[in-house]
Symmetry: C2
Subunit: 340 residues, 2 copies
């Protein structure tokens, strides 16, 4: 579909290759992470592995655990703590997805029915709580208070960001700074934590730990910005979710912020009706996409994504050149140019 | 109301005195716990302290943090770690209450509107996640992997118990063993953890730590059994919630298990219609209460509560006699004889 190709997808097939390269590089580690995940989903309460397994097996990109694995490897780590901790990161991510889908009433994720759509909201909330607890049990078994601090801080920030997003939803007065606060918390905090942990297990000096944190934070922001652009431009088959979800939910993402700021009074009334009052009709999504194109809203949001991508790239400057570092650089290209 | 006085409330006014005695004994500590809670509820996202504060300030009995405070004091602990850890315990409890009320669609808790009734399900889910994360942040600051293990294990077991309860809901084939599994996990696990932590901060030998764990576990089971009885017998003003909630939710509690097991075929059809098919009419709650009285279901559930109370009492035998030990013994009497 043309907007996607124009705006986000110029290098989409290369982007997919970048991702696959990275995933193949840590394939052995990632298989072990999957084993740890499956083992720790076990419970005599059969609905727990059933429901959580549905989401875990649904073919996510595993970006966050891959970050932990690859940063640890880049730093020369040769043990197996990064396996368990990558599983912790994925558990926290999965828990937040389960709760997000309840909060957003989502029906589709990664091209499959959401857990809340299949089993209802109640078990989704409770199994999310279970996964969150399991993650902390695994961290305790690992035994590092430093890791526990990084991930408990990240979890608190994520929850704060999610509540913040609820409050900015349907509020067309949301500005760029408020939007950046939300995505820094709800998405980038876990990318940052996942990357930082790689440095912690490899016992890197504080400066390198901070650099990997910056890498993850910048990458996460770029990733979320592209996600928000894709919601208005992707091909549904690529994205694995419904295009226009954010619009229908009245979410104020950066493309919307730009379009509102640059629109005339009639356009402002359109945004107020559709997003703030949630009074939407057939054709409104097309109209929204047309207004975004008129005001370069998607292109400019992509430009911001590239800026943050560049910061992620810079953060890797001080690390030794090796295939893992190359892969982390490629990952930036993937996050910016992806279509899924 | 007569059933309450006959079955659960013979010593209700004494029970209230026992509770107040205990609360007064640790009043200074408890005030500090409240300060820690209020400080750690702070967030730039104002809905978080607002929503969480609504529940925290709604006058709960604070039994779980009181357990941590009193067991630590009984063991002669003179530091202040028990303050922060009691706040952790209360945060976990509050998070589970927020999620429970969403899962149960509850409108009333402790005589006030629930957070989900005031602000909706979405922020209740997310603020619950925030409180859970805050609790782990506080534990990390305390720095004990042993405490982190106890409370992350308890959290996983609680979530497991809640999912298990969902699965037994509306299932009149649930037997006493399955019911005991549910309440051991969803209620008693946190009582056990809260009590055990008192021994951990006081650096007690393993046997004493295990004894306090048993005390908390037995007390928690007794507490939940009485809760289930009160749901069919209490005076609403005392209980601070609506009598018959469990019945309307189709929850299979021990009194129901007994009444079903002892009922004839017509009675079984009544329970199937009201609890399994959730087809309820005016007068059904009265009918349920009448059947329970006919089969001594409430009285026998209370007898079980007293058995577990006796185990809690026994678990304190090896500890030195002091006012804190006396208060923990009184607390057993409160949990068994309470009307609120």
């Amino acid at each position: 579909m043309s907007l996607a190709l124009n705006v986000a997808g110029q290098n989409a097939s290369t982007a997919r290759q970048s991702y696959e390269l990275l995933r193949d590089l840590v394939a052995d580690d990632l298989n072990q992470v999957n084993q740890v995940i499956v083992e720790h989903l076990q419970s005599p309460v059969t609905l727990i592995p059933q429901l959580a397994g549905h989401l875990v097996a649904s073919g996510g990109k595993r970006l966050r655990p891959i970050l932990t694995l690859t940063t640890a490897r880049m730093c020369g780590y040769a043990g197996r703590r990064h396996i368990d901790l990558a599983a912790c990161v994925e558990f926290i991510h999965t828990a937040t997805l389960l709760h997000d889908d309840v909060v957003d009433d989502s029906a589709l994720r990664r091209g499959s029915a959401t857990a809340n759509a299949v089993w209802g909201n109640k078990p989704s909330v409770l199994v999310g709580d279970f996964l969150f607890s399991r993650s902390f049990q695994l961290m305790v078994a690992d035994g590092s208070l430093e890791v526990l601090k990084i991930l408990s801080d990240a979890s608190a920030v994520i929850a704060e960001g999610e509540v913040n997003q609820l409050m900015t939803s349907n509020n067309i007065a949301t500005d760029e700074a408020a939007y950046m606060d939300v995505i820094g918390a709800k998405t980038a905090a876990l990318f940052a934590a996942a990357s930082e942990i790689g440095a912690v297990v490899a016992d890197e000096p504080d400066a390198n730990q901070a650099a990997l944190r910056t890498y993850g934070m910048s990458l996460g922001i770029a990733f979320q910005l592209v996600d928000d652009v894709l919601d208005y431009s992707a091909r549904e088959a690529d994205l694995g979710k419904t295009v226009g979800d954010d619009f229908r939910d009245g979410k104020i993402t950066l493309p919307v912020v730009y379009a509102i700021a640059r629109g005339n009074e009639a356009e402002r009334a359109f945004w107020k009706r559709t997003l703030e009052d949630e009074d939407q009709q057939d054709g409104d999504l097309d109209q929204a996409m047309m207004l975004m194109q008129r005001h370069d809203a998607l292109a400019d949001a992509m430009a911001r994504a590239r800026e943050h991508g560049a910061r992620a790239t810079e953060a890797l400057v001080g690390f030794p050149r090796n295939p893992y570092r190359d892969a982390l650089l490629e990952l930036v290209a993937f996050c910016v140019d992806r279509e899924f």
